[in-house]
Structures are given as C-alpha cells and as structure tokens.
C-alpha cells in the first residue's frame, strides 16, 4: 500500500463520525481492561462488608456493591474478562471459519455444498444453546463461553469469507497466478486473503461486539465467568437480587456493556464506510 492511499484513508477516518466515536469508545474500554491487569483502585476479591452499598465518594468513585467491593475496580476487571472471552471466541470462529469459507469458494461442487450445509447446521445452535449443553456435562466456566461463542462464530466467518472469496476467485489475476504454477494454498493465502481482509476486519469488529453481549448473557445466567472473577453479566445478576435496596447496582454494569458494544459497532460501521465505500449510503 503506498503513501497516498494511506494518507487518503487517514483523511477519511478523520471525517467519519462513526469511526471517530467508535474508536474513542473502544480504545477507552480496551485501555481500561488493560490497566485492570496491573492496577485497580481496590482488590476485587476482597469483601469489605462494613462499607457495603456506599454511594460514590472520593475513595470509591462509583460506590461499592453489597459485599463492599469497589464498583470501579469491578467494572475495570469485568471489562478485561469480557473482552478476553470475546477475543478468544472470535479467534476460534475466524480461525476455523475463514479457511472453511475460502476453501469452499475455491473448490466448489460437493465440498462447497458440504461446508455450506455444515453452516446451516451450526446456525441451529445459538451460542447460548451450545453453552447450555457444555455446562450440562462439564459444569459452567469461562472456557465454556469461549467454546460456545466461538462455535457460533464459525459459520458467520465461513459464510462471509466464502461470499467475498467467490468474487475474487473469478478475477483474472487468480487465473494468472494459477498459470504461473501457484498451488491452491498459495493462491488462497497470497491472493484471496489479502483481498477479503477488509471485509473480515469489519465483520470481526461486529462479532467482537456480539461476543461481548453473549458473554454478558452467559455470565448473567451463571454459565460463563465464575466468581470471584468479576464480569459485567454476573454483576447484573447480583444486582437484580438487590434491586429494591440498591437499584444503582444494576445501572453501571449495563452502561459499561452498552458503551463497549456501541463503540465496537460504530467502529465497524465506520471501517465499512472507509474501507468499502460502495456500501456507504446503503447501511
């Protein structure tokens, strides 16, 4: 990619409101999560019952929960946990889905049919259902969430990479690459992947947001991240039992989820406008 294209992309990025708002929100969340690995205002595992359900103060910026834990620290650590689950799940989904999709597009015939039928099949198991089955046998846990959300992402990535790869496979430079003696793997890796990368990046951003929502849902049900590890979903389910005494506990984790998902969705929209201008007015 030469300098003028990069300069043009940079200019477009600065003019795209979705992208700017999205990247600011996402960066804030990612930084918050990263900081929480090294530092939180208070340790999240330690109960301090004498200071339970306190309002915001100079000591506890966002108050404390029913066990006296600092809400700011809980939210920070929760950010890291939910992003980590979503990130691993997306990697699992993309790692299997993209090769499947590209392979299906390149092979066509029964291989393609088989991959697409597998897709239809995998769609029959929403992440929640898979997580339920895994938990029924192995008990709940953070790995469950990664596997369940990851499995659900496989057909999503397979479908989108097949769709985009089909278009590229028809282009002349692929024929040229074939004639020059490159094998299927080289063609897929050197020619197809770079050309569908922008679509995949956009999709990953959206799936990342969906992953955060799914993780929150699973941990809300108690099937995902387990205590004492804080997670936004778990915080909400605890808050629900305290709703009549401390309604504020139910507000903050929800806002954290909304801001993160909103940021990622806006980032995805912005990236699509910048990287794929044909779609700009349609969505």
């Amino acid at each position: 990619m030469n300098y003028s294209i990069l300069k043009n992309l940079w200019k477009q990025s600065l003019n795209n409101r979705s992208f700017l708002l999205g990247i600011v929100l996402s960066l804030i969340m990612i930084l918050t999560g990263l900081i929480s690995i090294f530092w939180t205002p208070f340790p999240v595992e330690i109960f301090d019952i004498s200071h339970k359900l306190e309002g915001p103060s100079a000591k506890h910026w966002l108050g404390t929960d029913h066990f006296g834990r600092d809400m700011t620290s809980m939210l920070m650590a929760g950010a890291w946990n939910s992003m980590l689950v979503s990130l691993f799940a997306i990697s699992l989904g993309a790692g299997i889905g993209i090769p499947l999709g590209v392979f299906a597009a390149g092979k066509s015939g029964w291989v393609e049919e088989l991959v697409m039928r597998f897709n239809d099949f995998a769609f029959a198991f929403p992440a929640l259902l898979t997580a339920v089955m895994i938990s029924a046998i192995y008990g709940p846990g953070i790995i469950n969430s990664v596997i369940a959300i990851g499995i659900f992402n496989i057909p999503v990535f397979a479908r989108i990479s097949r769709g985009s790869a089909l278009v590229i496979y028809k282009l002349e430079f692929i024929l040229a690459a074939r004639i020059s003696g490159k094998n299927e793997f080289q063609i897929a890796f050197e020619h197809i992947l770079p050309n569908i990368l922008s679509v995949l990046i956009i999709q990953s951003t959206i799936q990342f947001a969906l992953g955060i929502l799914a993780e929150a849902g699973l941990s809300y049900l108690g099937l995902g991240t387990q205590p004492p590890q804080p997670s936004w979903g778990k915080m909400l389910s605890e808050a629900q039992t305290m709703m009549f005494i401390a309604p504020q506990m139910a507000i903050l984790p929800g806002i954290a989820i909304v801001l993160t998902v909103l940021g990622l969705n806006l980032l995805g929209d912005g990236l699509r406008d910048i990287l794929d201008p044909r779609l700009r007015d349609k969505n």
Binding site: R117, D120, F121, F123, A124, F125, P126, A127, L128, L129, V132, M133, I134, S135, A136, I137, A209, L213, A216, G217, Y220, L221, L223, G233, L236, A239, Q240, M243, F244, P247, A250, P253, G254, I257, V258, L259, V261, L262, N265, L266, D281, K282, N283
Partner: protein, 315 residues
C-alpha cells in the same frame, strides 16, 4: 419448483438427523456415564445401577439412539429424573408460556421495526432517518436482559404497574397472563426491532435506486405509491430472512429473559434442568429448540419462493 422443494426437504431431514446425532453424542456418549452425572459423585453403586437400567444405559449406543428418536416421533421423550413425570408433559406445560411469549415479542418487533425502517428509508438522510438509525444503533448495543432489568426497575419497582416477575397463569384470565408477559416481550423485542429496522431500511433504500422504481415514477406513480407498491414489496426478501433468523435467536433469548422474570417457560426449565443435572430433560429441550430453528430456516426458504416468483423459475 418441485425439484427445489424435494431437494430442500431432503436437506432439512438430513440437518435434523445430524443435529440429533450431535446432541446424542454430546449429552449421552461424551460424558461417559450419564447416570453418574445425574446422581453426582456420592452416589451408591446400586442406585447408579438402577438408574442405568431405568434410562436404558446398559443397551448399546445405536440402540439407545434409535429408541430415543422413535420415542420422540411417538411423543415419548422419557421421564424427568428430578420431576419424576414424563418430559413430554413438562415441555407441553412450559410451551404454553414460551410460545405466546415468543409470538408476542416477534409481532411487537415486526410491527415496530418495518414501518420505522420504511419511514427512515423514505426520509433518507433527513432528521427522521438519522434519529431512527441512532436509536437502532443504541438498541443493538443494549443487552436484552439489562433492558429487562431496567424495565423492572422503572415499571415494577418505581411505578408498581407490573409485577417484577412470575407468571399469573392463563387460568387467572387472558388479560392477567398477557400482563405478566408484557415486560418480557418488550425486552425480547427491542434488540430484534433494532436489527429489523436497519435491514428494512437498507433493503428499501437499495430497491429505491433500481430502474423499475424510476419507471414506476416516470409512469406517474407518486413517490409514496412507488415506495409501498414496489420498493417495500421487493425489500421483503432480506426482511423475511432476518425474521427467520431472529426467531431462532428469540428462542435462545427466552432462556435468559424467562430467568430474569422468573417465568416458568421452556427456557427456565432448561436452565433449571442444568443445575439439577437432569440430562434427559436437557437433551430433549435442546433437540426441540434445534429442530425449531432448522424448521424455521426450512420454512423461510419455502416462503422465499412464494414471495419471489423469480426464484420459482430459477429453482
């Protein structure tokens, strides 16, 4: 068209078959001994042996699979270990809540989202469009269970209009039953409506650019008539696809929402069965949900062909 239908039906049956195999493998073969999972670590040997016999676990796997499928076809889903009643009657009882809830949610989201999406497309790049899209962006980011908690906080805790959870039961009257399902249905419908409105808007906008709309307008049709009579009708295909997909998500969504509102529906039964390790119930509910999704996808494909005559000829 007949060939298409037969082929599609064949795929439908195969998908169901594979789904049942996967569920059977995951819940009966993979755990090793389902009886010891159900009874827990401290179980006595003779109790374990009795349960194995009762569940037919001493039979070879293919035979167990065959009798499970045969049972399902005859409406015999086995017996729940925790409730000690047939799983079939448990499921039927819970469906009397979950089906109305899902239908209520999908109708709410459709009646809200399609007009909003069309309205946004008709007012493309104007304030109405921007605000509808802004709200839908927000709707996409709000987890349905948090929205449900907010609804409870406002309408139950603060205003006291609705109960914070539980189901009045249909026997107390249709109105009372419907009232208990109102907040859950709204919380399920919101994220769905956000997606549906966006898809409707995109699909209508895409069709508004097409030549046939220009022809219709040149013929003297008003913008509104061209929009409703031509663009919206043609935009229905992607909308129906998303509606079909949403129904599947809705079924999964009820698992969470029924837990938020403590509603005795299928989702809550599934959730409770996991904590009680009642694998027989889990297996059958998961199969039922997966079969519903597969059936909906099958029906959506058939509906396509009915809505769009062009597909009829091609297929």
């Amino acid at each position: 068209m007949t060939i298409f239908l037969v082929k599609r039906f064949f795929v439908f049956v195969i998908t169901l078959f594979v789904a049942s195999l996967v569920i059977f493998f995951l819940l009966e073969i993979l755990p090793g001994d389902p009886a010891s999972i159900i009874l827990g670590i401290g179980a006595q040997d003779d109790t374990l042996a009795a349960l194995r016999l009762e569940m037919g676990l001493n039979l070879p796997a293919p035979e167990r699979y065959y009798s499970w499928i045969k049972g399902i076809l005859y409406g015999n889903f086995g017996k729940s270990y925790t409730y000690d009643i047939p799983v079939y009657s448990l499921i039927i009882e819970r469906l009397s809540l979950s089906i109305p809830l899902a239908l209520l949610a999908i109708s709410l989201s459709t009646f809200l989202a399609i007009p909003l999406g069309v309205f946004a497309a008709a007012n493309h790049k104007r304030i109405a469009d921007t605000s509808i899209m802004g709200f839908s962006q927000l709707g996409l980011a709000v987890p349905n269970f948090w929205f449900a908690i907010l609804l409870i906080l406002f309408f139950s805790v603060k205003l006291g209009w609705f109960s914070a959870g539980g189901f009045a039961g249909w026997e107390t009257g249709f109105g009372a039953g419907l009232k208990s399902l109102t907040l859950p249905a709204i919380s399920l419908a919101l994220p769905q409506a956000a997606i549906l409105a966006r898809v409707t808007r995109s699909a209508v906008l895409e069709n508004m650019d097409k030549d046939y709309i220009r022809t219709a307008r040149a013929k003297g049709l008003s913008k509104k008539a061209a929009l409703w009579r031509h663009a919206v009708r043609n935009a229905l295909i992607p909308v129906v696809t998303i509606l079909g997909l949403q129904l599947s998500f809705l079924l999964a969504g009820t698992i969470i929402i029924e837990n938020v509102f403590y509603l005795p529906g299928l989702g809550r039964l599934l959730f409770q069965s996991i904590s009680q390790r009642d694998l027989v119930v889990v297996k059958n509910i998961v199969m039922l949900l997966a079969a519903t999704v597969v059936t909906i996808n099958f029906l959506v494909d058939i509906i396509y062909v009915i809505i769009d005559p062009r597909l009829r000829d091609n297929s």
